[in-house]
């Protein structure tokens, strides 16, 4: 009796172009024994990625993942270790860093201690975000300070302009609170013209 996997495999073979591949690694097109290909294990490592270690529960530990997200992969990809090792299959740096981080946790180190090990060895550049101390505070505070200064400047500028307008008019601006009433024919015509001309 055909197993479910074999049945599905035949189905896939029917819908995908080309032929199912087994041990044969030639790239030229052509025929082949589909049944044989299905029965064989896949033996084409260069085409399906590098060898990988088996995943364990420790690999998916949330604390480990959170720690890896704070550390930059050293391959130059600019990604964090977790994102790189779960994305860029050609990178050999992030899997090595992952293994090291896992070992450090297994030794009983805390996340801060693990990060400290990498910072001591690689410098602050290993961190995805610089620690908020010393000169780095400028990195965090300057945008907020500039925004605050801009806000204050804008409010002061608006206040000065309003004062100038009020002085020019010789009176303080009064808000209109007239009741809205049903417009007469003339007002409706004016409104219609205004509606036609609206361009804002």
């Amino acid at each position: 009796m055909m197993t479910r996997r074999a049945l599905l495999g035949v189905g896939i073979a029917a819908i995908v172009p080309g032929r199912l591949r087994g041990q044969d690694t030639t790239i030229a097109g052509g025929g082949g024994d589909t049944t044989t290909a299905l029965a064989d294990p896949l033996r084409n490592p260069f085409s399906v990625g590098r060898l990988r270690d088996s995943l364990t529960a420790a690999d998916s530990d949330p604390i480990l993942i959170a720690t890896e997200k704070r550390l930059r992969c050293t391959c130059g990809c600019t990604l964090d270790v977790y994102t790189c090792r779960t994305t860029d299959f050609t990178c050999t740096y992030s899997p090595a860093m992952h293994t090291e981080i896992k070992a450090l946790f297994a030794d009983g180190k805390t996340p801060e201690q693990v990060i400290g090990v990498f910072v001591a060895r690689e410098g602050e550049a290993i961190l995805m975000a610089p620690p908020a101390r010393g000169f780095n505070l400028a990195g965090y505070l300057v945008p907020g300070l500039v925004m605050a200064a801009g806000l204050l400047g804008l409010v002061a500028w608006i206040g000065r302009r309003r004062g100038a307008v009020a002085a020019a008019e010789g009176t303080t601006p009064v808000m209109t609170t007239a009741a809205i009433t049903e417009p007469d024919a003339g007002a409706r015509a004016a409104l219609r013209r205004a509606l036609e001309d609206i361009e804002s």
Binding site: R5, L8, G9, I12, P17, G18, L20, G22, I27, A28, G29, P41, L42, N44, P45, S47, V48, G49, R50, R52, S54, S60, T78, T86, T87, D88, T90, G123, E124, A125, I126, L127, M128, A129, P130, F135, N136, G139, Y140, V142, P143, V146, M147, G150, L154, I158, R161, R162, V165, P173, T176, T177, I180, R188, R192, L195, D197, I198, E199, S200
Partner: protein, 680 residues
Amino acid sequence: MTLLGQFALWTGFILAAWGGVLAFVARWQERPEVALTIRRTTYAVLVTMLVAAASLWQGLLSHDFNIEYVAGYTSRNLPTYYLITTFWAGQKGSLLFWAVVLSIFGALAQWLTAQRFRDLLPYVAGITNIVAAFFIAVMLFGDHTNPFERLGFTPPDGRGLNPQLQNPGMIAHPPMLYLGYISLTIPFAFAIAALLARRLDAGWIIAMRKWAIVSWLFLSVGITIGMWWAYLELGWGGVWAWDPVENASFHPWLTLTAFLHSVMIQEKRGMLKRWNMSLIIGTFLLSIFGTFITRSGVIASVHSFTQSSVGYFFLAFLLVTGVLSFTLLYTRWGSLEPEAHLEAVASREAAFLFNNLALVGIAFSVLWGTLFPIISEAVRGVKISVGPAFFERVNIPLGLFLLFLTGVGPLIAWRKASARNLQRQFILPGLAFVVGLVGALLVGLRGYSLMTIALGTFVIGTVLQEFTRGVRARMRMHDENLVLALGRLMSRNRRRYGGYIVHVGIVCYFVGGLGQSLRVKESHQLVPGERVTLASPFGHPVTFTFLGVSQYEELNRQVSAATIEVTRPGKAAATLVAEKRQHFNALGEKSFEPSTEVGLISNLQEDLYVYYHGTPDGTERSQFEFIINPLVMWFWIGGALLVIGGVLAMWPGGPQIRARRTEAMQAGYAVPLTESAVTS
């Protein structure tokens, strides 16, 4: 053809430089024939650049591997449509692409601009010619930057195109982004022309307004397609990583968005003239800065496919242009006095000013974060990295403030809003805000996510109210039905209602961003038949069953395809296929590292995203990343709305053209009848 291409480049360079110099040294104001000559140089440069482009495309399509660029980016088995797009795949081609498109835009600006602005056009021609001459000069005089450079031998096949660039996104993303960057030259040219000609009324704004919207539209589309491309090709399940190159495209978009708002204040009230000039100059400089970041490699980026010393040409150009432009602005400072003053805080002008503050503030914080590693190294000698956490911490609150202003702006009257007006305008959007807030609280959202939903519903409430009131007014006054009233309302106020559609699009982006914070991701190794179940953030389980791997060849690659069955409660089972690809050249040699195509099932609620790492030799165990990515589709819906709103806002016609037509018709009928009646 390379000889012809070289000749075209040199001719184009001489013509562009000549046209540029002539615009600034000749006394063309008194000599119309010289003014015409300056303008005609833009057409001549266009012809030379089209010849150069045709020469390169001919080399690409004919597999002339003696051309270094063709050998470096193509191969014999590359599909034709990718052969065409390799024009902008590498640095040399991109530089030529930039020069070609700039020459097209420069010529269009001369051709399409109304004659009443003709005293600006020679200056505009001069500036576009100078920028074009700069790009051609980089190709001619840079280190290995000439797209027609030949090799000392002819390889049998080329290196091929990077597999990550073999994606439909490649056809659209880089050109769109380039078109956005390049078209910014035209508003910049009009601004400088207005300063030089001392025509500092609103004329230059009217002349370049649509160009600014065009630039904004191209940038928006380019950025969104880039997000989509990164989402599908990079395989990490995200759309935006705050990478320096991504940030470089975001800077001019932010400042241009600020300009498109503040320019309305100048048009309506004659205010903010200096600010608008500064914004458009700054936006152009930021587009050059983006090119510098992309090309120099001065800041590490995952997107820097090409890095060379050419970046320093751009740095020099950036500095010279910046100094000259702002010096010119300074000399005209006194002529840019506002014609009116702000009358109240509760006014649309003030709301737009705060909107500008938020947009420019975000642009500054992104720029600051992008450059901070360089600043740190210069000051302390210590290299640091600034990742997404920094940008999100700084920019999310600013973004929410901006979202709030997006809702507030349309509700406040120009000049001065009365208390009654404010009360009337804010009731319904305020109710929408409360409904959004309560709804989000009930589903368990907190913090920024909560405010995103509440403010998003506030903006939607504002837009709906604006549409409803406008339609009802038309239905009442013109006896139109709903559809006709809606259509005419939008067609007669295109910029306004196009803008509202864009606002809804922006809300969609925020919703997409909210979904990113709810992403679920797990790594698993499975053998065929094994399954894994993930809990969706929406509460339901999603089961992924690994069915098996098939392998086959396509035109230029060998594909290993993993098929996954997906089951969700209440929905039919579906399958998705995630691929690992190894590309080959025509000689059967491996080209590039293996690449990945993610498996994806997408709907309004969530994306089911599977990344196939590979199947180790001799085993059936395969490793996958399973990601449930909520609300991603809202990014693409937002992008579509930006396009619809932007196109509507810039579509020709509208009240001004109608008014001119009406005026002409009235003149044609009224004059003879009145004259005859009076004289007879």
